[in-house]
Structures are given as structure tokens and as C-alpha cells.
Point group: C2
Chain length 365, copies 2
Amino acid sequence: MAQQHLDPTDPMAGPVTGDALAGYLRAQATEFLRALRLHRETGGGTANGSGPHGSGSPADPVDAARALRRAVRRISGSLHTFRPLLDSDWSESMRPELAWLSGTLAMEHAYSARLERLLLALHRLSGAVFPVQTAGATAGTARPGRSGPPAPPAAPDRGNLTVGAAKAGALLERQLTLARTRAHSTALQALGSSRFHAVADNIAVLASEVPLVPDATTIRLHPHTVAAQDRLTDAVTALPLVTAGHPYNAEALIHGLAPDPAPHPQDTPWHQVRLLLRLHRYAREVLQGPNAPVDVRLLAAGQALDRHRDASEAAAAAAQAARTPRIAPATAYALGVLHADQRHEVEAARFAFQQAWQKQTVGTP
Amino acid sequence: MAQQHLDPTDPMAGPVTGDALAGYLRAQATEFLRALRLHRETGGGTANGSGPHGSGSPADPVDAARALRRAVRRISGSLHTFRPLLDSDWSESMRPELAWLSGTLAMEHAYSARLERLLLALHRLSGAVFPVQTAGATAGTARPGRSGPPAPPAAPDRGNLTVGAAKAGALLERQLTLARTRAHSTALQALGSSRFHAVADNIAVLASEVPLVPDATTIRLHPHTVAAQDRLTDAVTALPLVTAGHPYNAEALIHGLAPDPAPHPQDTPWHQVRLLLRLHRYAREVLQGPNAPVDVRLLAAGQALDRHRDASEAAAAAAQAARTPRIAPATAYALGVLHADQRHEVEAARFAFQQAWQKQTVGTP
């Protein structure tokens, strides 16, 4: 795969064509099969939460699950961006299945990370400085979030939380642990279903034989990566970046107490940009190959949007928990503070994205 | 008073001495007496809230009360900064009395402004965009805050608030209106007390004859204004300005849920700088006279610290209201969101101060 080492911006380099796409898809499919084997071997399918997480085992079900999600996202994204190079019947049938699998596999991790983010925030808001171990971090595919230090295997300490913060923490833990357990069961059922086996069989075929259109090896990838980048740029242009670049613009908490049950439609275009940025990043991977240098500014922009999404969903979870019937006022108060805190995280993430993107635009050759 | 037009940084200018201080104190004492007369004429002493506020009368009791507070603060500050130039027995006996008067006169306005700030925030958080009229804005010395547009005389509209936001607003209105009414009565009682008459008599004397030390007309003011500036600079140096200059540092909400009943000791040094900045500003007024150009950067720094103080106290009022027994969880939740919102205002104000101060330091000749 000589084209993997080509610089696509080098006008002297040969054109990168469907060959590179086939190579990329084969590699991702192989990675998927490896992760799936690992996931089965390491008991990723046991729901009792007594997995080997934290024991230092190299065959970590958390890592296996992450590798699975990672490969599925990349295959799915490449099918989207480079659609014209692939057999259309095959890719059209695969895409909804990959979206289903990707969504199903992501939920357990999302609930787990959301709970950890909220408990860490509660501790920060209570003036505590020690790391938090979420109660269920050993179960299934749970994994410590980016934001925290590696958590020692200790029980959560609510010693220096107020009653309200402690009760809010317990309520969130109950609700999100239940949601995570359900997501875990759903993922297990999915991985045992005939629907999954059909997808896995398709990916196994992909590992050896990519269904390209007949002339794919003469079709250049570059216009498609440019189109992906254009879709990203257009979506970014539509974002309120001027506002986001003014610190403390107080935009993210507007409608924080609005009667509207879907509280934050303002987040949607940012979530959309997050997905387009990911597609752009995967398209670059296809073009540049696995040894391409990491674009740190693109990485920073993507991390800001991940943080935006995580904080947005954590804020919604706090608001949702506050609607639990018969909670104490102190619990509701703590959840209100927590909601607002996470909405400000949303605003902070937009600012961080704006800063990263500005460098991006200036710095791109 | 020729020295009023001198530039104190001009090395060719004659020295500014105790004469200028005497002139400044006479002018402020005269202003105090004028405001006091106006306050009595305009019924600033009637507590029934049916004053002429909003009628366009030039003799507004709100303006009169503000002018009173303004003059008292300036006299008090000058006695502090230029202590060695004034008869020590006289100034030592006056200073606690002026502090008492200044504090007593400030309370009613403070409660009124706090309520307006919190109701505006509740409306902002509910996605409403119309201006708010606080229910008691016509009473006594109440006055619309800086932040809002001039409020039309309309009843507060809670039409598009959620139940929680509306209930939180009603609770805050009840509690802060009660506090304001009490402060109004206290101020009235103070203005009718023999203690006040003694202060007013002293200020009346000051309007014609300032008790300077014998050689005051040969003592230069400059070292004392420099000392006031040094005290300010030292206090600013001790502030966490590097942190404050990083947007979204999330410092202000730390301890937002802490068990400590005095929730925000971190605000104290900022409040202290606010007072020192005011003393510095008054010392400049003494030195440069009433026609000196306004230092817009000093003004911006001072406004940021006013906003810091206002938001800090509004956040505390929201937290305090949440401790009301038997409130609904939805009310408590809204108060939690409101508290966190105001703590982020605190953080935003620190950022604004840091930005203004940085310009300050760079720009000062």
C-alpha cells in the first residue's frame, strides 16, 4: 500500500485511488474481527461487573469494546464519504446495520462516562479534590473518562459532600447505573443476535475482499475527502463562533429553565459538526494512511466537541434526575447547580472549539 | 482652587497640598447637605412606596439617596487616605459614624438591586427576553440596576417561566422585598436619630471649615495618593489573576455545594480590592479636581468589581432562599441553577477585571 505514505497535498505524488480505500477498509475490518475475538475471550459478555478491569490484564474487555466501536465507526464513516467507489447495493445495506451496531455498542460506555463526569463535578462543586471511582466502573465496557486521573479501586467517598450533593450523587448513580446495566444487556443481546452475525459476516468478507465498483482503482479519493472537508467547513461556518469566542457569553444556559421539554436545541448544530469533523478525520486517515502525522489542532477541535457532547448530555441527565418525584429540595438544588455547571462546561467547550478552529484556519497550509 | 486643574504627574506643576483636600471636602459636604435637603423634600422618607419615581420629576428620591451615599463615601474615603492632614481627634470620631451611615443608607438599594438582578437572571434562564419590573421598584430609594433597560411600569410577567422559575422568583421577591422594607425602615430611623443629626451637624461644619492640621497647606497630597495606589496594587498582586485570565476556569463555583455555611471566602480579597480601588479613585479626584478626565480603564475595572460583588451577593441570596423550609423541589432546582448562574457571573466579572487591569498596567504612563 505505497499510497499510504503519500502526502496528498504533494502535487508530485501519484493519485490516491480506490486501492487505498480498499486497504483501509480491509485493515479496519481485520481490527474489528480482532477486537471481537478479544471481547469474547475477555468475558466482555459477562454482565455481573466482576471483570478484570484494573488488574492490568492486557486483554481488557474495556479496551476490546473500545476497539470494536472504533473500527465500526471508521468502516461506517468510510462507506459514507467514499460511497461512489463502493458497490452501492452492498454499502446501502451495510450502512444502517453499522449505524445500529455503533449506536448499540456506544450506550453502555456513554452512561458510564456520564455518571463519572457528574460525580466528579459534584465532588468539585463540594470542594473535594480526590478522584472518584464510580461504583460500576468495573462492569462490562465501562471505562474511566478522559477528564479524571486513573481511579484507584476505592468506594465512592461522600464524606465531605453536603446532604444535597450526596443525595444527588446517589440518585444519579442509581439512575445512570440502571441505564448502563440495561445498555449492557442490550449490547449483549445485540452481539448474540442473528442481525449482528450478519453484520459480522459482512465485515469478515470485507477483511479479504472489498466490494469496490469496477473502475475504483482509477478513481481518485481526493475529491471525496475535499467534499467531506467542505461539508465540515460549511457546518462550522453556520455555528455562532463569534459569540462562542467571547468568554462568558452566557449563551449555553439560556433556556436552562425554559418550559420546553427538549431544552437545548442550540446544541444540535455543534453535535452535527462533531460528526462531520469525525468523518473528515477518517477521510484523512484513508488518504494519508495509518502512519500519517496526527493533526493536533484537528484533535483539539474534536476533543472540544466531545466535551461539548458529554457536558450537554450530562446536563440533561441532571435535569432529568431533578424531575424524579418526591426528591428532597436539597437534592433538587444540588441537581440545579450541577445542571448549570455542565451547561457552562458546554459553553467552555464551544470557546475551546472556537480557539482551536481559529488556529486551524490560520495554520492550515 | 487653581490646583484642581493641575496634572499631578506634571513635574512643572506646583505641589497639590492640604488646600485641595479642604476644597474637596467642602464640596462633598455641600453636596451631602444639598442631597439631604432634596431627600427630605421629595419624600424619600415615606415608606409607603407611592413616591414619584418614574414620573420624570427632577427631584427624584432615588437620585437624592444616591447622591447622599455618594457624598458620604467620598468624605469617608478622603478622611481615610489623607488622615495625617486632618485633625486626628475629629477624623477618628467621624470615621466610624460615616461608615455606619454609609452602610445603613446602602442596604435598601442593595436589596432592591439584588432582587432585580435575580429576576432578570430567572427570565434570561427561561429564555424570556423582555425587561422585568421589580414589584417594589417604586418604593423608597429603589432604583433600576445598570444591567437592565429602563423598566416600564408593568407588573412582572411570569407567563413563560416554568413553575420552578416562577416559584423561585416569587420566593426571592418575598424574601428580598421584606429585607428591603426592613432596610428602608432602618434607614428612616437612622435619618431621624440623634446619632444622624450629630453626623449631619459635623458635615455642615465641614462645608465651611475643614479641620486641617496646622501645617496642612504645606503638606503635599501626592505621597498619600501614591500610598493609596500602592495599597491597591499590592492587593491586586495578591489576587489569582493568572487563573482569572483563563476563561472558564470554573473556580468561582468550587465550593458551590460545600458544607461550609460561609460559602465563598474566595470572594473576600476581590471585595477588598473593590474598596481599595474606590479609595484610589477618590484620592485621584482630590488631587485632580472635579474636572479631571475620567479614567475609562479604572472605571471598567471598578465596574467589573461592582458586578463581582453584586453577583456574589445574588448567588448567596439564591442559596439562602433554597434553605427555606418546605419549598417544592422544582423551586429548589431553579434556585440551584440561579445560584450557579450567578457564581459564573462572579467568574466572568473576575475575567473582566483581569482584562481591564492588564490594559491598566500597560497603559498607565
